[in-house]
């Protein structure tokens, strides 16, 4: 039939965008290191194929959209929020300050003239703060906490897992038993213990240090006046990191145990390549795809856990907010004033769903075998279509 290869890959808009993206990245690297693009032609093609396979998965695209939205909102949301989270409007609505969603409230002066008009698309909380703004600020806290947990926890887990798996014997035994101890720690109780002890220790350090204050207020998009509130958030981060790395150590140790049996590891050893080079250049890159999948899935879990901890009052303190805290504050008014629970809860749900969908799709796309099978499935479908057209 002479099915041309270009026809087998029908490129849609998304595929062209991702191709451009890969080409862009390649040309940037080529600028730093001349000749890189020519040397790594097959790598670039494989990346493009990876995106192509990813684009064929509707859950993956939905997840990616949610993630990108979450990250963008987390990064820029606070600056576009209609009101600051410190803007207590105290607009009376009935017997509380809780304004329902989609309400325009007008403030009149004594003469009955409209002085100001407020529009609350998602309603307000008990202090009369705009809920939409609070959710935008809360996204930043969730994003930052999940990133910090991953950035701190994953390297610890990776390094310990590599060492335990590769060296084996007593080293392995010691590392894995310590890991077991940490795995046995209940995250919740650890976090409660931390929350009761740590903030009082950290607070004076942050409050007394002008530089730290500035850094944290930029990172959390919070007012410098809330510096004292950064302490409980940090203690939550520390608590999550402490219970988070053992999972990585276990998984990586398991992967290393099988990866080190590869002949190329033995060959590298026999050729005098140093142990650290073997670990980080030959073993780690070969087991990186399950780690990436795990990280993606874990970011969702961390968001959920952080929301859970602040729901029981351990994370952000008034007036700072995160998603768990908004739900916690709104719970007492539920279900009459439903918006305080539903909207932040839905935001959490979408963010976690996004990371999970992407994680699932990445699992298929990063594994060369399943990637190949996705590719063949697409080709088969395409050639089947053409065949039916000819008949």
């Amino acid at each position: 039939m002479g099915l041309a290869s270009e026809e087998a890959y029908e490129k849609k808009i998304l595929d062209r965008v991702s191709d451009k993206l890969v080409d862009g990245i390649a040309s940037v690297i080529s600028k730093v290191r001349p000749g890189w693009r020519e040397k790594n032609k097959s790598k670039i093609d494989e990346w493009k194929l990876m995106f192509y396979a990813f684009n064929r998965s509707p859950p993956g695209i939905i997840g990616a959209t949610l993630i990108i939205a979450f990250i963008l909102i987390g990064l820029f949301g606070p600056y576009f929020a209609p009101y600051s989270y410190r803007n207590f409007l105290y607009i009376e609505y009935g017997d509380t300050y809780l304004v329902p969603p989609g309400t325009t409230v007008t403030v009149t002066n004594e003469q009955g003239e409209i002085v100001k008009e407020f529009y609350f698309p998602l309603g307000t909380d008990k202090y009369g703060r705009d809920l939409l703004s609070l959710i935008l600020y809360g996204a930043r806290v969730s994003l930052i906490i999940s990133l910090i947990v991953i950035i701190l926890g994953v390297p610890i887990g990776i390094i310990l897992g590599l060492i335990a798996g590769y060296f084996g014997g007593k080293t392995d035994e010691v590392i894995m038993r310590i890991t077991d101890i940490f795995l046995a720690f209940p995250a919740l109780i650890l976090a409660i213990a931390f929350a009761s002890v740590l903030p009082d220790r950290i607070r004076p350090i942050i409050v007394g240090n002008e530089f730290l204050k500035q850094i944290f207020s930029i990172v959390f998009a919070a007012d410098v006046r809330d510096a004292a509130n950064f302490a409980p958030i940090l203690s939550v981060i520390l608590a999550i990191v402490l219970v988070w790395w053992p999972g990585y150590t276990r998984i990586i140790r398991g992967s290393v145990l099988s990866a080190r049996e590869n002949l190329y590891v033995e060959a590298a050893k026999a050729l005098g390549v140093s142990t650290w080079k073997i670990l980080f250049k030959h073993i780690l890159p070969n087991i990186i795809s399950p780690i990436l999948v795990l990280i993606t899935l874990d970011i969702g879990s961390v968001i959920l856990m952080e929301a859970g901890l602040s729901f029981i009052g351990l994370g952000a303190q008034d007036p700072m907010v995160d998603w768990g805290k908004i739900v916690y504050d709104g719970a007492q008014f539920f279900p009459d004033r439903w918006w305080l629970v539903i909207f932040p809860g839905f935001a959490t749900f979408l963010a976690v769903l996004g990371w999970n969908l992407v994680g699932d799709t990445l699992r298929d796309v990063l594994d060369p075998r399943t990637r190949r099978s996705i590719e063949f499935k697409i080709k088969k479908r395409r050639s089947g279509k053409q065949w039916s057209r000819q008949v």
């Binding site: 040397k39 032609k41 002949l263 026999a270 050729l271 005098g272 390549v273 250049k281 890159p285």
Partner: protein
């Protein structure tokens, strides 16, 4: 020993014992083997699967992993005539010797290459690991190395990943990697088992020529008597963790002394002679956890007599450089 006496030794193994501590018991994979390799020769280790050939080759640079352990013995590498015991060196000193002075070629070329890196990178890595050159020069040299192992179009091939090459080419790349630092001793562990017969001939040719050009010493491990006849200067026949016969290729093939060697040679099919059934050695390789007492070959030996199952035969010289461990030759 007329010819070999004049030549300088490059490697000498003395009374090497390697044990593997398994749940079922201690596997005495190597029990007391000794041999020496002279500069510039091709030395072969032959024997059945599981007789300890690969373990011996790995023990040379202490590549035995737990649960294996080198229990006893010396591995002397001669550098300008003076011996260094490789088993006594620290890990870092050994690392510098591995791949630089003593290099390996492994059996399965597909598995010996890391799928994530280009061929050029993997050749360059070995050179950089031994500080021979910088990355930039190493990549340039990689092209020359690919050329020397007769890979067509080396400028393009350096950029290829292992999966883009054929089995024969991969094996050439593996050879190229081990040659990159011009080792004095090249250990090839069944380099042709994983490739088909035509490529096997090419690979052997390549090894032979490279050895001549670079003046390397080659330790070839194989179970293929044809390869031995074609390639080797001297041969050691191994059985159940021991050397049973050692001599020049001529001595072993023309005048085999040990019953096991005779059996091995008879088990090789000869295309010129039509036979109904190929001869095999009766019985199986002994369990090395509890090897048979006395001569390890005696349960399968057609010539066994009184002392065979009681005392281990010594390795005695029957003619110049030809030694055999068999009671038949003890006078």
């Amino acid at each position: 020993m007329e010819s070999s006496g004049l030549r300088r030794k490059i490697l000498e193994i003395k009374d090497l014992h390697v044990h593997f501590y398994t749940y079922a018991g201690v596997v005495k994979a190597i029990s007391g083997i000794s041999f020496e390799i002279y500069e510039g020769e091709t030395f072969c280790l032959v024997g059945e699967t599981g007789c300890g050939k690969s373990v011996t080759s790995r023990a040379i640079t202490k590549l035995i992993e737990s649960p294996g352990k080198i229990v006893k013995g010396q591995v002397l590498l001669y550098r300008d005539g003076s011996p260094i015991d490789l088993l006594k060196l620290s890990d870092e000193e050994l690392r510098e010797i591995r791949g630089k002075e003593v290099a390996y070629i492994f059996q399965d070329p597909t598995a010996a290459l890391d799928p994530l890196y280009s061929v050029g990178y993997q050749i360059a890595e070995t050179m950089v690991a031994h500080n021979t050159t910088t990355w930039k020069n190493a990549f340039k040299k990689a092209i020359d190395i690919l050329k020397s192992v007769l890979i067509p179009d080396p400028e393009e091939r350096v950029k290829n990943y292992p999966h883009e090459l054929s089995g024969g080419m991969r094996q050439r790349v593996v050879i190229g990697i081990s040659l990159s630092n011009k080792p004095r001793l090249l250990i090839a562990d069944e380099p042709t088992t994983a490739v088909d017969v035509t490529i096997q001939a090419q690979i052997l040719d390549l090894l032979r020529n490279l050895r001549k050009e670079e003046g390397m010493t080659l330790l070839l491990i194989t179970h293929n008597m044809g390869v031995v006849a074609e390639m080797c200067d001297r041969v050691a026949v191994m059985y159940a963790g021991k050397i049973v016969e050692i001599g020049t290729v001529h001595q072993i093939f023309k005048n085999p002394q040990h019953p096991y060697t005779k059996g091995l040679l008879r088990a090789v099919p000869n295309p010129l002679v039509r036979i109904e059934k190929l001869e095999s050695i009766p019985g199986t390789v002994p369990n090395l956890i509890s090897p048979p007492p006395g001569c390890r070959f005696h349960p399968r030996c057609p010539y066994r007599f009184d002392p065979c199952d009681k005392k281990e035969p010594p390795l005695i010289e029957v003619e110049g450089g030809h030694r055999v461990a068999c009671w038949l030759h003890v006078k």
